[in-house]
Symmetry: none
Subunit: 194 residues, 4 copies
DNA sequence: CATGAATGAGAGTTCATTCAT
DNA sequence: TATGAATGAACTCTCATTCAT
């Protein structure tokens, strides 16, 4: 395996970044196992050789992509805003999650799957997830009246929001009313915090 | 693509079944993309040729496995029993799900991922999921006092149980107390049905 | 390679014969390399195992088929009849060839190709061809007035008839008038014998 | 099926060309079904991967080879020369055909066989054959005194020449005198044009 | 630094042949 | 004898990775 260079010039920094972004986009859209390195190169507008100047292998692109995704994207931004009502907060959390899913059109399960099969990714992912849980837990402290098992409650809340987002994005079950699902989820989270 | 035989003799029926079971087991354990057809053959104790006597390709084994899994396993059996209290019912549902996950030690996400990327599987999966939801909804009617959006509520409940099962099986977040998580989930489902 | 039995019973003689006939038919229709032994077995209404009771391998079926074809079929039968006029003889030779081609709908070229690549078949084929040439030469002696190079002339005549038969059977070139082609070939053979 | 590249650089053009030439040569020598892609790669001095960079599959190599053969080689070049006598013309046509056959040492029948079984090739082949027939017909107009059915006559002439070439190249029938065969064929063609 | 042609190990798949029943 | 399930060597084809230019 040849050495992977750390880009120095501005232009090459851009190249690396473009490979990560475009590559991750393609992976999310088509599935990691359904695309080739050549596909990524083409989609990113670089040569296959260039890929190996910045990444040691195919998975490395994914790792970088996920890392960035987890760091910059997954984290809902609402939390930084001014004090919201409980209802507003819940709505915002849900909307942020849906937006994030929409934007990335992520083949979430495949990512999770690959992440699971890779020690390094697995650790990274769980750390981020955990960070998120802790962060939100801290934030929710002010909103709940029963702080018992708040960590677990937050975990459950995040799961509820994630499930809702998936159902809305992929709309797998036509008979389920999106609005009702959203409403019920909101009310349920409200109940958790009560 | 050569013709796929429908086994006639008893022995060959066993062979097909063994390939499905062992193949699916291996796929779940190691991941579909991490094993080869030769691996499956070896693990099932047959020759590679035998695989193609019963399945038209690698994915066909998976399809059969998933089909069987969804048909025979996913469906919790508790529901057939005598009248349970609401609390007991919830506990039973959760335990059945955990047991099923434990038994299959499924790389759930990868399966879901592959399922998502395959029209045929996708349809099959959603049908089964939907069947399950409808079935449970019918069953829960007797347990809820507010039947509004019961379909959506059931969907949410199934999601909660699935998330819980995963967390317990893989125990990804060490800081989360399993018992608390279970307890909170139970209480939450109880609240949904109240 | 297991021993090949020589059928003793009447029924098994029929089986061997059926495999040769049906197998050769299938080979001619579909091409030797496009069919499998299983295809032949199915088409002949026997099991794959039975094939190897009468033939040592796939090619053996072909050899038997070609042998039979060359022995019983290729040889035009007209020659045994009463004295024909020169014109009649030529017409009869041509018709016999066309009929034979029609009946067998043979993928002639593939047979010839396989024959060429196999020492044993090659010898067999050329012997039959040569026999035919000699036989016809002998027969034509009475019809020609210039017996110089009669062997070569006969060879040329057989080639002309074969080419004509192919063109008529497969009718590859739509612009060529079948009747004209036939007429010209007849006249040409007549000229050879003059 | 992955994308097939159209070579851009000079060197890669050479590679594609070498695969066609060497591959076709090997196919002609050994027979399409008797060689593997690995054989072709080895014989052409490239890797198996390179084969699939320029051709979508094994048959594609053959198609390209035949195309080139038909386009560049099959067509006798004599016709472009100055006015020849009828006898000279015939001799030239025959010699050109024999030379072409010698040069390619083609397993003619197998090629024809494969061509027959493939729609695309079949069309290509017949077009070229037809082109040749038309072209020669036009040319022969000046040489014949009886232009009736000239198309059919030309077809017959081409068949005669082809048969002669085969017999001379493979010399299947030892008893046939090459010189006599050639002489008789020449005289016969002369008769056709008279 | 960038390119893209070249590589070759390894994947999925086929099928002539064998053998237990 | 007849069966057809089982075999496994050998095939075609893929694609992550390398390297000469």
């Amino acid at each position: 395996m040849s050495e992977v260079r750390e880009p120095v010039k501005k232009t090459s920094k851009k190249t690396k970044q473009r490979i990560i972004e475009k590559g991750f986009e393609l992976i999310c859209k088509e599935g990691y196992h359904n695309i080739t390195c050549a596909d990524i190169a083409k989609y990113a507008g670089v040569s296959t050789g260039s890929i190996y100047q910045y990444f040691s292998n195919k998975k490395d692109i994914l790792i970088n992509g996920i890392n960035q995704y987890l760091t910059e994207i997954m984290f809902p931004k609402i939390i930084t805003q001014e004090k919201l009502s409980k209802e507003q907060l819940i709505k915002e959390l849900i909307n942020a999650s849906i937006e994030s899913h929409k934007k990335y059109k992520i083949q979430h399960e495949e990512l999770v799957s690959i992440v699971h099969q890779d020690k390094e990714l697995s650790k990274l992912y769980q750390e981020k997830e955990w960070e998120m849980t802790k962060y939100l837990t801290k934030y929710l402290e002010a909103y709940t009246i029963d702080p018992d098992n708040l960590l677990e409650k937050t975990h459950i809340i995040l799961g509820l929001i994630d499930n809702l987002s998936h159902e809305i994005i992929y709309h797998k079950h036509k008979k389920l009313k999106e609005e009702n699902l959203k409403k019920e989820t909101e009310q349920l989270i409200l109940k958790i915090l009560t």
